[in-house]
């Protein structure tokens, strides 16, 4: 680890000010992605701005139509929330399978989506459910939020405050974990609800999470695993590594999508 300055602001405004004043500074939430990178000296931020002391960044609120998860809410809190389990069981279940118990007790939804690791689980839920990301300066639709590999629409001094999920009629997430790391090698989140029928794929795309238009069209006509029969996934933009070729990932997208639709019922 290299040296860095450490800030612990007491408000979002103060955090934004610190960020704006230092382009080399990084925000730290749970640190479950950032700390390993720092330990391996793969990043050298001038400063860490710890969001841990800001009140009102943790919590879950549920209305008749939405579930809102604040940015610093841990995966464990989402997984254990009776309200989330009731409103969007697929979201609670997804959170319960992120990383391991230690990661779930530290890692946060804001950190996960702002990092946009191509193998992260949360981006699939955010995109498939058509969530709205509330930031320190605006509201961003999920479709506009994820812009590429480890890239989002967030400005350098913008902070994720909360993620607002519309409650779907049906939804499910199924992943095929990488056998070694247990990250999603392919994860598919399917949802039918106020934002229409949406299918989001994580783990597979070389540019991060993406929507599967052909599957969405087929499922909009007929919500059943059989409707996905014969629908292929173009391989050009898929990841290719020692664990799975593009072709194998494309195959797994089909299998996971069918399982997800079956699970959603």
């Amino acid at each position: 680890m290299y040296d860095f300055a450490y800030h612990r602001p007491a408000s979002v405004a103060e955090a934004v000010k610190l960020l704006a004043g230092d382009p080399e500074a990084k925000l730290i939430s749970g640190g479950m992605s950032l700390i390993p990178v720092l330990k391996q000296r793969l990043a050298r931020p001038s400063a860490l701005i710890d969001l841990g002391a800001i009140p009102d960044l943790v919590g879950i609120s549920v209305t008749a139509t939405t579930v809102t998860v604040k940015g610093r809410t841990t995966h464990a809190a989402v997984a254990a929330s009776a309200e989330v389990r009731q409103a969007i069981p697929a979201l609670a279940e997804l959170a319960s399978h992120i990383g391991d118990a230690q990661v779930r007790n530290r890692g946060t939804i804001g950190g996960s989506i702002a990092h946009h690791d191509p193998t992260a689980d949360y981006p699939a839920a955010v995109l498939a459910l058509g969530a709205t990301v509330h930031t320190s300066r605006r509201k961003l639709a999920a479709d506009d939020f994820f812009t590429g590999l480890f890239a989002t629409a967030l400005e350098p001094d913008e902070i994720v405050i909360a993620v607002e999920f519309p409650i779907p009629e049906k939804a499910a997430y199924v992943k095929f974990p990488n056998p070694a790391s247990r990250y999603a090698m392919v994860g598919v989140f399917v949802a039918k609800g106020p934002r229409g029928v949406r299918v989001a794929v994580t783990g597979a795309g070389a540019n991060g999470v993406f929507r599967h238009a052909a599957m969405e069209e087929a499922l909009a006509k007929s919500w059943s695993p059989e409707a996905l029969e014969g629908i292929s996934t173009p391989t050009e933009d898929l990841n290719n590594d020692i664990h799975a070729s593009r072709e194998y990932r494309a195959h797994l997208v089909g299998v996971m999508a069918k399982r997800a639709v079956a699970k959603a019922g």
Binding site: P179, A180, H243, Y248, H251
Partner: protein
Amino acid sequence: MAQGIGQALLETRVHDEAGQFLSGSMMDYTMPRADDMLNIPVDNAVTMCTHNPLRVKGCGEVGAIRAPPAVICAVVDALHDYGARHIDMPATSQKIWRRISASRQHLAAE
């Protein structure tokens, strides 16, 4: 036995063309874990050694040595209908998928 099953199904050293070791961390090198394993009943089938007065013989790494052929024989047997008579270790899910798809394409072409 877990070690032998790991060798049969999961563990592999991967190098790129320049010789760089690609599976050098636990994020990439797949070790068997508790949830990869079954409860395996263990028993002894005792056979007296015929070559020495004590009728005993040293033996080690029984599980690690015996597990790979047992697992691979089972995999090859399961893939028999797809024309498999051999599969290289480790028999990962991707490798098995490739074997099945190659066989299906071959059948479709006939």
